[in-house]
Assembly symmetry: C2
Homo-oligomer: 351 residues x 2
DNA sequence: TCCCGGTTTGCATCCGCATGCAATACTGCC
DNA sequence: GGCAGTATTGCATGCGGATGCAAACCGGGA
């Protein structure tokens, strides 16, 4: 079959077919490669050629086929972003910002949403089949899965989690540090007994926060600690507080919740069901600095993650590694920002 | 160049290269088409062939290349999902659920996030270049853009917005109806003066809600109405309430906010800055039924969107139209659910 | 044993674009 | 005007897999 015929094979059911570079070439009376070059960045093409091709392309409504381009350049210009369902209220911002950062570099986001953080297996296969150029994940992978990704030589950046002693790239908020701050402030202000509301068992973030708090409490010689476990949601925040009360009989001086939403749940439960005044009867702190933490009714004392810088950083780390696979892994930890809200009795000002 | 040579051209910088169907074929001692067939659903292949190929494939870590497959089948198995930034707190759920519904049908989500609902131009081009099989949008397109999409014969489903008198598919919550319910309840309970907090000017959803409320108020002969305008965020919710007070001098009997987050802002402002008791001094209602609306401190009277059914419906509508492009457009409107929270003085029970 | 119908399999080709290489056009300069 | 040097352009081919068609194979019935 000749090249000319190629431009006439309408194979769409409707008889129409999307214009290809051959169609444009024919209409413009130039070669297909010329068309290809006009639609590339660094390619050489004279102004005359550019005009002719663009005019023909507009007439036909031609757009380069990113799929075909990806096949030949071995770059899909897509990255996989993996999020898990539980972490409500916070990841939305992350996702929108990430998408925009990637977008500025011509990279699209292929979204993978997990029911729970454990469901990574199913999606990994898909990511590989779609030949994503990189993976940004807010969920953990098993060692075996990591090996698969490594074998495929796909750059990977963890978001808010990392692997100690392993060569992986990650961007995270220093949760231990944040918890340390909270604990220090509370202890300095005289709190002696603590309740800890931890996150779901398979959440790395939740675990880090809990350990950060426990370690610091232990370092400060505090041992009156009661731990209960929730799932990052409002309802379990309330349940957790109730459990805490049941376990202890009386309220602790302070409650450290693994995130703001659970802290809010605790505050509501403390007020509504136990008639406690927050912060006079009990201090309650959270983590994240999400929107609702700022609502006047709660004004949660918390540590805010620098979401914007983190997403920015994560996106550029991944893009750099896509463009230069030789780059060695890098772990970046951002400090959060202590928000001295009104839900805890701590000093308003350092002296 | 012979077929055999094809299997040996390592062109990766590292000397490694992802296994292709040719590699698998060679190792298994079969033809490339055989490999292709083993990795397809309806294709014919004997068990013996299946085993040989799968074994070779596993040995090589082969995975079919979805990009190449898309090129030939004319199906990318990707849909574009367009969201805009402003609508916080609510779209996250939508997004995760949509992704999961699509995922069950083997369809991936390519995410496009808009800074504002007006920025559709930039992303449209990208969606077309990536040859998405369909578009699900929670942002509006211009008539010109719609024509482009139509020309490209890409199925399109609107989420929570639609075009009257036009042949487009859409899934939405009946916002007018919901506002009608709220207004009826409030008026029945004796509210006579109203404040309306509307959404940002380019939000279709916001507009629908405002008009729904205004129309019903007018139908019921209520004319004491003050309108102010926010951006769906908490802060402007507070500002709006302050403006409302400034404009009127005294609080209206009820405030109808275009979404829950602004309703929460109004409640906080009313309580904190104006010392009003909600709902005794003033009723405040929202829309959406998001998580924070349920927090005990607010317990917002609102209309909850049936998010799960809506996303489910939207996903399947789009998939059906991808598989059968002849299907005519369809508009589905779901009724919301009136949540009689504690932020408004309305009857708890119909008699 | 031979022939027929139904499966499996291989062959060849195409999807739409990028790119190395060779051919051609154009530029400035002596 | 001629020529070296550079900027454009066209040609041919490949990226990885799907698929129509024909060849090969398989089993069963006469």
């Amino acid at each position: 079959m000749s090249k000319a015929e190629k431009t006439t094979n309408n194979n769409d059911k409707t008889g129409r077919r999307r214009a290809t570079s051959y169609d444009v070439a024919e209409l413009a009376g130039v070669s297909q490669s010329a068309v290809s070059r006009v639609f590339q960045d660094g390619a050489s093409a004279s102004k005359a050629m550019r005009d002719r091709v663009m005019s023909a392309a507009n007439k036909l409504g031609y757009r380069p086929n990113a799929i075909a381009r990806g096949l030949i350049t071995q770059r899909s210009n897509m990255v996989a972003v993996v999020i898990s369902k539980l972490t409500n209220l916070y990841y939305p911002e992350v996702l929108v910002q990430l998408t925009q950062h990637f977008s500025e570099h011509g990279v699209r986001v292929l979204l993978f949403a997990l029911e729970r953080e454990g469901d990574t297996g199913k999606v990994l296969e898909q990511m590989l089949q779609f030949r994503v150029d990189g993976i940004l994940t807010a969920a953990m992978f098993t060692p075996e899965q990591l090996k698969t990704i490594d074998n495929a030589e796909i750059p990977l950046v963890f978001y808010n989690r990392t692997l100690k002693d392993q060569l992986v790239s990650s961007v995270r908020c220093d949760q231990e540090e944040g918890e340390r701050w909270l604990v220090d402030e509370l202890v300095n202000a005289g709190h002696k007994s603590f309740g800890i509301v931890e996150g779901p068992p398979d959440s790395v973030v939740g675990l880090e926060r809990k350990m950060g708090a426990l370690n610091e409490l232990s370092a400060l010689g505090i041992s009156d600690i009661t731990t209960v476990s929730g799932d990052f949601g409002y309802e379990t925040g309330r349940e957790c507080f109730a459990q805490l009360m049941q376990k202890r009989g009386s309220p602790p001086d302070a409650v450290i919740a693994a995130n703001d939403v659970m802290a809010i749940g605790c505050i509501d439960e403390a007020r509504e069901e136990f008639g406690l005044n927050v912060p006079n009867d009990i201090s309650i702190v959270g983590f994240d600095g999400v929107g609702p933490a700022r609502y006047a009714a709660y004004n949660v004392t918390t540590v805010r993650q620098p979401v914007h810088r983190m997403t920015q950083s994560a996106a550029s780390m991944l893009i750099e590694r896509i463009e230069n696979p030789e780059l060695s892994p890098e772990k970046r930890a951002f400090s959060g920002m202590l928000i001295r809200g009104g839900s805890a009795r701590i000093q308003t000002q350092d002296e």
